[in-house]
Amino acid sequence: MKAKITITPKKAVLDPQGKAVQNALEHMGYAGVSEVHVGRYLEIEVDGEREAVEKQIDEACHKLLSNPVIEEYRFELE
């Protein structure tokens, strides 16, 4: 099965990339853009029981794929 993982900066962390993209969007004339956050997206192919895979991916997200000091993660399995 495939794990689709999204990692985003925590709200409290300065996100200058998001700010720069937001400015660019505004310059392009897109109105109403109030916030942009730039994160990371990963797809991981894994074999195994759904429950075990879920536990594994959660642990990998916590230990390696994200840094809990500055980032949040969420994922879905399909």
């Binding site: 200058p16 840094n67 000091v69």
Partner: protein, 236 residues
Amino acid sequence: MKVAVIQFPGSNSDQDAVNGVRVIGHQANLLWHKEESVGNADAVIVPGGFSYGDYLRCGAIARFSPVMQAVKKFAAEGGPILGICNGFQVLCEAALLPGALVRNRSLQFRSEHVYLKTIARDTPFTGGVDEGRLLRVPIAHGEGCYFADEEALAEIKANNQILWQYVDQDGNARDDANPNGSLENIAGICNKERNVAGLMPHPERACEEIIGSADGRAILESMANWLESKNQASAA
């Protein structure tokens, strides 16, 4: 002192660190990332660069290399460890130091000289820096903005773990002297036990006047002096 300078694929300040230690009259050797022991070294430097290509996050992958398990053990035994630039990022990722380094506020890669004010002088890395002396050393990084959440920052301050701050040439920690947006102008910190420190600036690239500054010597010499007095104490 005998310093082990860790070498990851992508390290680029490893030779500078070896050179810095040697020009102050001490021994330094490179230690490959696959090694499982720091050998007979009595201090470790985790140098700057782009370990493992900075893939995923700066320092994220280096943390799991065999040599880092040896470095963790060395830290637990009280050995002095200095992380410089990418080395600072690696030590934060390895949870040997609190907080994290994120993208510079300006989004620019900053390569310039900065002034550092030494805040806590009771560590192996700062004991030899004269009170009130500002160190002029280079920085070269894109992700050096120090971040810790409110609770962690309060603890860092309560334990006097801030070792260096970015200041202007008069020693004031002003916002315009902050090259990357670090909280509290933090350039470097240590752990609670005070034997592990990290900083974004490069003291090892400021050990000879011919390259613009020799102020970085004070940090490496502090380590040597600290080890010497420790050895004398244990011999006595």
